[in-house]
Subunit: 338 residues, 2 copies
């Protein structure tokens, strides 16, 4: 039975255990600072498929099957899978997972989806509605570019505030028992929209949502940033991270000492031409699975917050002159029990 | 605490109560057989907004605010809202609900989303993760046509198997206490794909998913169709309904005696030019809120199944020669306790 703490935080009574996880990425991600930590790196952007969209579906399929293998489970053992991506009508997930025969909850939170899927999967397990669940998300640079921006062949210029969509997928297998990192609480974000209209500056649009969710979580749990070994945001990048610090500083919260952004961790911005950092559903998902959970498993961190951020715009809303509503969901993950 | 029954069904221990619901629709839906039952009928397809997409967002906003009013609650009372729609990146929901400040779970299940959002909201309440929750979905004929098919101005011909996307939204307010119809169980569907490729024949693509979910539910709960006053599907239309009967008949299940399809209820196909029936997230949502819940409240039905169906395709997947993966989620709703 879940308990509510404060206005917006859900504490899990029997924190779900992460039995296995996998991160499958593309070439550029493999060449980045976390390259050695990913389960699979694919140098071919099409991963032997006929289109980038089909390649993205394959990323999810590979991530789920690898995570299941590491958890020593089969698809048939899983009660519910929570999945999402950035493609129109979330076809990355529906086509990637259609052969598994697992009850399927499709989620949409743009780049925040990994925290949402992990949180909802945890909620289902904590409550007894599932014994085993999977959370998975993906993104693909080429599929996202042509859908959100320009055909790759057009060679459009990218402003310095733009981010690079990660080609990758992360999948997590959860259970109500076993040994592994545990998801102990969840704050579901609310939509924030401070009027940013520049679709090439998602970091600025998403920073207020991250600030709000982190503020809510710290206030609900009566904790401060120093109570955590690290606080990870999803894909604020360089611009959004700076804004997040400024926004929280106004409330007397100093996040700079133990904050890291998945969008800044995944690429080497000095060497790789990614402008303000990485982004996409696959960014926070692959960094969570390859890097953050490894730290927790190996005792390098005891307790972290994972706050994935999403910009809930579409090309249509931008063309109609709309601003960018954003959202951030947060889960607290703790090291395995001794 | 939820209990699992059989392989795929979740029984709620403390069945969430529906405190209020609202259905807001467009002109054609108002002219149909259920016209008098809707809370609001808008003759203007733009509902005083600048675009059809913005009008769809407004439908959601109006449905939620009316449902809250009927439940005697304010947005601030709601712990979590579960929402989805058919537009790319689900902008119907994110823009429609951005001003409410309610923790927001974005869902994508195509036209099946109302059963998914109602099921997930119920799960959160049953487990104590929320005290009050809202489930809402929408669709808009004009926005869906130009996104999925052709610009309206083009005047494309529609084959007889095509369905008409409902302009409408339905919203439901749930609580852990109070008086009203109760959501007593949930079966989350799995993705089915029998290889149908005709995007103008969604009924055929979705019928196998409905058959699978209904079969799972009946088998998990050891019941048969006669144990329910009615079994509603979301938007199979004429073609899909016939196929559903055939598929279930093979397993010895006769659904024809007490089955109704929301897509066949909402329009008069003799008079209104809608071909195989209504469809869209807003179809099952508005029929549920206006018609089905009314029957339960007024004692005309004691126990019904609501099985919403969705086709998880996109124009991109169709252009790439893909078939249509489909899904159906099911909730059991019972009349208020005396």
């Amino acid at each position: 039975m879940a308990k509510r703490q404060g206005k917006r935080t859900i504490l899990f009574d029997r924190p779900p255990v992460i039995l296995g996880q996998a991160a499958v990425v593309g070439k550029r991600e493999g060449e980045g600072p976390l390259g050695d930590l990913f389960d699979e790196v694919h140098d071919d952007n099409l991963i032997e498929e006929g289109s980038w969209e089909k390649a993205e579906s394959k990323l999810q399929k590979l991530a789920v099957s690898t995570a299941l293998k590491k958890a020593n489970l089969r698809a048939d053992d899983i009660d519910t899978i929570f999945a999402g991506d950035l493609l129109n009508q979330c076809i990355g997930s529906s086509f990637g997972l259609r052969e598994l025969g697992i009850p399927f909850v499709g989620l949409y939170g743009a780049c925040s989806t990994m925290a949402l899927s992990l949180g909802c999967a945890s909620q289902f397990i904590d409550s007894g509605a599932a014994k085993y669940a999977v959370a998975v998300t993906s993104s693909h640079f080429c599929a996202a570019e042509r859908q959100y921006r320009f055909p790759l062949e057009y060679g459009g210029q990218r402003p310095p505030t733009a981010q690079w969509t990660v080609t990758g997928s992360g999948a997590i297998v959860l259970s109500d028992a076993g040994k592994g990192p545990r998801v102990t609480s969840l704050t579901i974000g609310e939509i924030e929209d401070l009027g940013i209209k520049d679709a090439n500056n998602m970091g600025a649009a998403m920073a207020p949502a991250a600030a709000t969710t982190i503020r809510h979580y710290l206030s609900d749990t009566h904790t401060n940033p120093d109570d955590y070994d690290a606080i990870f945001t999803g894909d604020l990048g360089e611009v959004g991270t700076t804004l997040l610090y400024e926004l929280l500083e106004r409330d007397g919260v100093d996040l700079s000492r133990n904050h890291e952004d998945c969008g800044l961790l995944i690429y080497d911005r000095e060497v790789q031409d990614v402008h303000a950092g990485g982004s996409g559903c696959g960014c926070s998902a692959s960094v969570l699975c390859a890097y953050i959970l490894k730290k927790l498993r190996e005792g390098e961190a005891k307790k972290v917050l994972f706050c994935a951020t999403g910009a809930l715009l579409s090309p249509t809303s931008t063309q109609q002159g709309e601003s960018i509503p954003s959202i951030a969901h947060l889960v607290c993950i703790e090291a395995p029990k001794n």
